[in-house]
Symmetry: C2
DNA sequence: ATCCGTTGTGCAACTAGTTGCAAAAAGAGT
DNA sequence: ACTCTTTTTGCAACTAGTTGCACAACGGAT
């Protein structure tokens, strides 16, 4: 129930076409809400038919032709409503932890390499976030909007920091572990 | 693609009926992979028909009758395969961060209360984890299995710690923010 | 002119998870 | 014996996300 609201947010930040949205979902917004272009187009159609957004008047309504959308007042209202409404955090779904638990039953053979891979992925993501922080949040940027954005970015940074630390610790633990139960 | 493997893991830890599994998914396993009883029954049927598990011989194969399952060798093998296979971490989907970003566009009215609510929820979860740590991971428990389980628990603890810290920080930030843009 | 890769839009089918409801058995109370 | 509740199992319909592919326009290269 969040994709439409993610799109409304993105369109409020800047009216865009489907493809532009897709690109932005690969960067900033996608860092905590990813979506494919098919999802986005489908949802744009739905949002338009519900009167939350409208296509910018650019004539050509044919296929393969760029079409930009902007948010209508009804869309902004719906977004405000949704933002303010209470929502329970949904239980995390983490495959890696699940696999680790499985490996306690069937042996740790093979999983260590993937832990290492995840570690570098998280380190890379962390570096990317820190670069953004350096670039976009120097001193001076201090409007309420900037502070909110920075707050969000810091969540990303802290999360990735947690993962890199935890994975490092996990790998150290593995060193100390006896040979995998699968191959004694 | 992970629910069947979560179930296999749970059944390896201890053969169980659908309802028992459901209860365990509400506690330990559900901390990082939740599932409803309907999902579980459906998946049990599938796993049985694929030859990964079998019902323990308890006669009565009728409805409303308790039926326990155990993992067959093929199931264990499949679980081992899946555990060792590389998997990309999937991009996080976090509604709260999304709402915060939306609130930078439509105003922060209303969201603060929910941040506070989330904070207490995370604090509660953290307390629960720490209790488990105290209870189940005192000194002495030091088999490879124990260490893996503890590692997983620590991920939970650190994650909840991150959220409580970040939410606390966010709420402090809100104090310093001017009156919500939605109501000036 | 026409072929060809790129940009941009979109449909359809599939997979996974959620919600709502119901039916069979077992035990408890009267 | 009989209803009534609880336990346990399950079906069916819905929602959200994923995968695979197709089709139109545009801009350059031959």
């Amino acid at each position: 129930m969040s994709l439409p609201h993610a799109i409304l947010t993105a369109l409020l930040e800047k009216p865009s076409s489907g493809l532009e949205l897709t690109r932005r979902f690969d960067r900033s917004i996608g860092y905590f809400w990813s979506a494919t272009h098919q999802q986005i187009y489908r949802e744009l159609g739905k949002l338009e038919s519900e009167g939350y957004i409208r296509a910018l008047p650019t004539e050509q309504p044919t296929r393969g032709q760029k079409k930009s959308y902007e948010v209508l007042p009804a869309g902004r209202a719906e977004l405000a409503r949704w933002t303010a409404a209470a929502q329970d955090p949904k239980p995390p779904r983490d495959t890696l932890l699940l696999r680790l638990r499985a490996s306690a039953m069937v042996g740790t053979t093979g999983i260590e390499a993937d832990l290492r891979r995840h570690l570098t992925l998280h380190q890379r993501q962390l570096a990317e976030y820190e670069e953004i922080q350096q670039r976009d949040f120097g001193p001076g940027r201090d409007t309420p909007q900037d502070r909110l954005q920075h707050l969000i970015l810091r969540a990303g940074i802290d999360l990735e920091t947690f993962w890199t630390r935890w994975l490092t610790h996990a790998l150290e633990e593995f060193e100390r572990l006896p040979a995998p139960e699968g191959s004694p």
